[in-house]
């Protein structure tokens, strides 16, 4: 079942200099994405998940670390080779409104990658390819003469997907690709993504803040908090038995669309600290219900605990308490 | 609302009553700023007009443009074949700073004038020395006799004024200190210049006659106010803000005449506009084409455009106006021909190939530009291609020194007291009119001392002028000034001076 990783992120850090100081967007991030799998990346705003997605594609230059893509560190690549490699990895964006150039027809939008990589053959062949792609993502071939503004949000997202798929990448980063959509449309797009992944054997990093979507879609999950990976393991395991207090809290905070479900919850106090001056030790200690003095000083290593990796000094305690008990501890 | 009206009414009455001043103060509106207070370097009328109140020359022109002694005690004494000139000086003359004028001051002043004045250019090579002869006379030694000397010494355009030695520094006068009837009391650039009576002034004798004669210092104070806009000068005169205004638009003549508060002052034949032709390079080196220009132009229309009313100009081709001592009619039939056919003949004879004729003009002198527009029309009518090069005066000043930049440039000039100092006739002027016959005549004009003989020489030169067309004198233009009714004692002439002026009671 275990595949060799297509992507592996090693010691990745990113700091954005600002007038007020450096924003610590990513700190020593390590994880890998097995070929053919869908890995979910969850966290709240400010957790660094979007930056991480961009860094992996080198749309943002990381400050430190390596991103191995099929054995090659893409951060070392000169611009020309990087451009060539771009063919193998793509991104689908969150906002269906700003991610399509309003001055271009759908055909041009989808073709652009083909032209850039000299893939599409003649204009006619490219046109046919665009037509096929549009149909594959659930649109019609004659949509290619339209402009983006003539589509609904869900349809635009399909165009975005077609654009990413046009150059037949192996790896796709889906950055909150369904967050802006209404639930009924979101379901359509989720189905589409699943179909495509399976049909084309895609590897995908699925960035989301909605745990239920990740739980539904992903094989593995990476939970981030303030630039750090706090927990990483198979989705089923992390969801049923979270080993990090933050994961516990996140899971319990997510509203469950079931009025009959239990309403006992683990509500985190306070808010995510500023990435300008992240807390010492464990970055979560300011909000953690299980915080002990040690957490204030020592940065927890990402270590294997109970079949997943977790960065918490008290992961064993969290597991022992179980999700419900974890919640009780805060109340 | 009513309050506002009241306020406005008060405002307007106040501004009208603002015209009443202490008796003895005269407000004079000038056509522009006095660019420099150094009269020796500038030929600008406004500079020379104002500075005459502060500075004086050895001689001054009278009504018939004859030099009369001013700081000199009498006429010059010629000897050594007119090559040595002794000029006696008046004594007891005081400078504004209280010091006495000495012959040394006069010598230094004249030497500086030789260095800096554009008017001294012809004369300078002739001067061997200028020395003091005791305390009350100076002696000028020349290499050759020079007939226009006295005119030059009295002509108030970049004139040889006498200043104290101390204020002469290499490039400029360090203070405004002269012997004139008025002293500079206050100068606010572009706002006003206040000239107040100089109490230690020693007036020359004799009945006032233009710039010569007694200087009475009737006014306590004269205020020279630069007002570049003609309308404003007119309005200011009408409202009583100014007592005297230079450069009034001809259109306002009737208004000045009909008003109870004002009267027009017409200065006939004040100056002549000139079209200078480039004899050094380009189209105008071809005599036929020069003739073509001469025959094509319509001086009357050009003057009308420049001035606006035929009362205020005379289409006269002679180099000096009728009545002037240097007036003659030699060659004037070549003037005001305005015959496109004849012009065309010359155009063909000259083998004109359609190269545009470049007329360099400035719009700072609007009448230059107006004449250029009319000239263009008539030249094109005759078959020329014409290009107006309209620049500001600073640019024109530079461009006209480069023969490659122009074919014709437009300027104007007052009637000089002696034709020998007319630069445009000289071979080394920027138009470069060089002709052996003319050069010899010009030389003769400078050295001959007998007036009648000189007049004949000049008539010959004028004939050559019409033949060779070094430049085209377009005509005589009058100037309109405005005066508050009852102002007297301001002589009529190219320069307004106010030392004998009186305000009405």
């Amino acid at each position: 079942m275990e595949h060799p990783p297509l992507i592996s992120v090693e010691g990745l850090s990113k700091r954005f200099p600002t007038r007020a100081g450096d924003v610590h967007a990513l700190e020593d991030v390590n994880f890998s994405i097995p070929r053919g799998s869908i890995v979910g990346l969850v966290g709240e705003s400010g957790s660094g998940k979007t930056t991480l997605g961009r860094c992996i594609l080198r749309l943002v230059e990381p400050s430190e670390g390596r991103v191995m893509f099929d054995g090659q560190n893409i951060l070392d690549l000169p611009p020309k080779e990087l451009r060539a490699l771009r063919r193998r990895m793509q991104i689908i964006f969150q906002d269906p409104f700003s991610s399509l150039n309003p001055r271009m027809r759908v055909r041009t939008i989808i073709e652009e990658g083909l032209i850039a990589h000299r893939l599409g053959g003649t204009s006619r062949e490219r046109r046919d390819r665009v037509a096929t792609l549009l149909e594959e993502v659930g649109l019609q071939a004659d949509h290619m003469t339209r402009f983006a503004h003539e589509f609904s949000g869900g349809q635009r997202q399909r165009v975005g997907i077609a654009r990413a798929l046009a150059i037949e990448p192996e790896f796709i980063v889906a950055d909150e690709s369904v967050s802006a959509l209404d639930v009924s449309v979101q379901a359509q797009i989720l189905n589409l993504l699943l179909d495509l992944c399976e049909a084309r054997n895609l590897t995908m990093l699925f960035i989301a803040h909605d745990l239920s979507v990740v739980e539904y879609l992903c094989d593995q999950v990476v939970v981030m908090y303030l630039g750090h990976v706090v927990e990483n393991g198979s989705t089923a395991l992390v969801h049923s038995q979270p080993a990090h207090p933050y994961t516990t809290a996140l899971l319990s905070a997510a509203p469950v669309p079931d009025p009959f479900a239990g309403r006992d919850r683990n509500i985190l106090k306070g808010e995510i600290p500023s990435p300008l001056s992240p807390p010492s030790g464990c970055v979560f200690h300011t909000r953690c219900p299980l915080m002990v003095e040690h957490c204030r000083q020592a940065v927890p290593e990402l270590r294997a605990v109970g079949g997943r990796r977790v960065a918490c000094h008290r992961a064993e305690d969290v597991l022992a308490m179980g999700p419900a008990t974890g919640a009780a501890a805060t109340l | 609302m009513r309050k506002l009206v009241l306020l406005l009414a008060t405002a307007s009455s106040l501004c009208l009553s603002g015209g009443a001043f202490a008796a003895g103060t005269m407000n004079v509106a000038l056509i522009g700023e006095v660019d420099t207070l150094d009269p020796m370097i500038s030929t600008k009328a406004v500079v020379n007009m104002v500075t005459q109140h502060f500075y004086e020359t050895l001689y001054a022109l009278d009504e018939s443009w004859e030099p009369q002694p001013l700081l000199a005690a009498g006429p010059p004494e010629y000897s050594n074949g007119d090559k040595t000139i002794r000029i006696p000086l008046r004594t007891g003359i005081k400078f504004h700073d209280g010091s006495d004028m000495t012959s040394a001051d006069v010598v230094d002043s004249l030497n500086r004038w030789l260095e800096v004045s554009p008017r001294a250019k012809e004369f300078k090579p002739l001067v061997k020395t200028i020395t003091a002869d005791g305390d009350d006379a100076i002696v000028i030694e020349l290499t050759d006799s020079y007939a226009p000397l006295l005119s030059l010494l009295s002509f108030p355009s970049a004139p040889p004024v006498v200043v104290p030695q101390e204020i002469i520094s290499a490039d400029q006068l360090t203070a405004t200190v002269g012997t004139g009837p008025y002293t500079l009391a206050e100068y606010k650039p572009d706002q006003y210049m206040r000239a107040t009576r100089f109490d230690g002034y020693q007036s020359p004798e004799g009945a006032p006659s233009f710039l010569a004669g007694e200087r009475q210092q009737n006014l306590d104070e004269i205020r020279f106010i630069p007002v570049p806009d003609a309308n404003t000068r007119m309005e200011g005169l009408a409202s009583g803000q100014f007592d005297y205004a230079d450069g009034i638009q001809i259109e306002n003549y009737d208004r000045l005449l009909e008003s109870d508060a004002t009267e027009p002052v017409l200065m006939e034949d004040a100056f002549a506009p000139n079209f200078a032709l480039n004899h050094k390079a380009g189209l105008m080196t071809n005599p036929d084409l020069r003739k073509a220009v001469q025959y094509a132009l319509a001086p009357e229309d050009m003057l009308l455009a420049a001035v606006g009313n035929d009362v205020f100009f005379e289409a006269d081709g002679a180099l000096y106006p009728k009545g002037h001592v240097w007036h003659n009619e030699a060659g004037v039939e070549e003037y005001n021909v305005n015959d496109p056919a004849r012009a065309k003949q010359h155009l063909d004879a000259g083998g004109y190939d359609g190269t545009p004729l470049r007329i360099l003009t400035s719009h700072q002198y609007e009448f230059h530009f107006k004449m250029a527009e009319v000239a263009k029309f008539y030249l094109e009518n005759a078959g020329f291609k014409v290009e107006l090069v309209v620049v500001d005066w600073a640019t024109l000043g530079e461009k006209r020194n480069d023969p490659k930049e122009w074919d014709i440039y437009i300027t104007h000039s007052p009637f000089l007291p002696d034709p020998a100092i007319n630069q445009l006739l000289s071979a080394d002027s920027n138009i470069g009119w060089s002709d052996p016959e003319k050069d010899a005549a010009l030389k003769e004009l400078a050295t001959e001392t007998d007036l009648e003989a000189r007049k004949e020489i000049f008539a010959h030169i004028q004939e050559l002028y019409f033949r060779d067309v070094p430049y085209i004198k377009v005509g005589n233009i009058s100037e309109l000034r405005g005066s508050r009714k009852g102002v007297t004692g301001v002589p009529l002439g190219p320069w307004m001076v106010f030392w004998n002026a009186k305000l009405p009671d």
Partner: protein, 286 residues
């Protein structure tokens, strides 16, 4: 409501533009000015420089619709010919300033390393009042039609450059630019197809306003006697030349003043209309 927006957008900017009657009228007025300028020789029996000193300062009549000037030239004819130059100045300045501004603005907006230098330069240019900068430049270049256009284009460049820079900064962050980069699209193509093409609306709008502002500036400079070679009449030159006749022959300055005003109003209205039609932010809130 977004559906409504989509359909209004669908109507196309031109239709939105023409739906506004005032804007339509403005465009018609500008069209008349343009046609008059282009076909000037066919519209009048007189020559613009055809002077006739016997017909000076005639008031408007059936023969001379706008009277004659101090050299007896037909003012209506001169208005039409002057319109050629005035409009050429406006158009030329708008076009040239757009080119300069787009280059500077995109460079500053897209390449953050160039931004400080360019922004500083623009700041310095903005620190000069328009007219003063134009005067200084014209004094340096010398007054001619082309130099006037270049000088005014330089004066107005910061206006475009700042808009372009700001828009590029926004567009640069939009995800479709990122998508293009992710696709491996080359930078020049990104600059043109993704950045430039999406900021044309504010440029067009600004250029329209600059067109108007340049005409006013030209008139002002001509009035000061610094602008254009006055042998090539513009409306400003005509006012300037006619001002001394304001009491005796008011029509000399009345008509050119009206021409400028009408033209500038029409341009401003068109600019406003274009902004409404092209700016999606406003259109969303119809």
């Amino acid at each position: 409501m977004s559906a409504v927006t989509a359909s209004a957008t669908h109507a196309g900017p031109l239709r939105v533009l023409l739906q506004n009657r005032v804007v339509t009228l403005s465009i018609v007025v500008l069209g008349i000015f343009a046609i008059a300028a282009i076909f000037a020789p066919y519209l009048t029996p007189y020559q613009p420089n055809g002077l006739s000193m016997r017909e000076r300062l005639l008031p408007p009549s059936s023969e001379h619709w706008a009277g004659t000037d101090e050299l007896g030239r037909d003012i209506f004819t001169r208005l039409i010919y002057a319109g050629r130059v005035s409009l050429a100045v406006g158009l030329g300045v708008a076009a040239l300033a757009s080119v300069f501004g787009v280059v500077l603005g995109i460079l500053a907006g897209f390449f953050s390393r160039l931004d400080p230098a360019i922004s500083r330069l623009l700041d310095a240019m903005m620190a000069f009042p328009d007219v003063l900068l134009a005067i200084a430049l014209l004094a340096a270049f010398g007054g001619s039609l082309l130099n006037l256009i270049i000088a005014l284009a330089i004066v107005f460049t910061p206006r475009i450059a700042r808009v372009v820079r700001a828009s590029s900064l926004v567009v640069r962050e939009l995800t479709y630019v990122e998508a293009a980069r992710a696709l491996g699209v080359s930078t020049p193509r990104i600059l043109f197809h993704h950045v430039f093409r999406n900021i044309t609306s504010p440029i067009i709008v600004q250029a329209t306003f600059i067109f108007a502002a340049a005409m006013l500036s030209e008139a002002g400079l001509s009035f000061l006697g610094i602008g254009i070679d006055p042998s090539m009449p513009t409306w400003g030159v005509m006012i300037s030349a006619g001002r001394q006749y304001i009491d005796t022959a008011g029509w000399l300055i009345l008509f050119p003043g009206l021409a400028i005003t009408i033209c500038v109003v029409a341009l401003q209205l068109t600019g406003d209309g274009l902004r409404d039609a092209l700016d999606p932010r406003i259109r969303k809130s119809i």
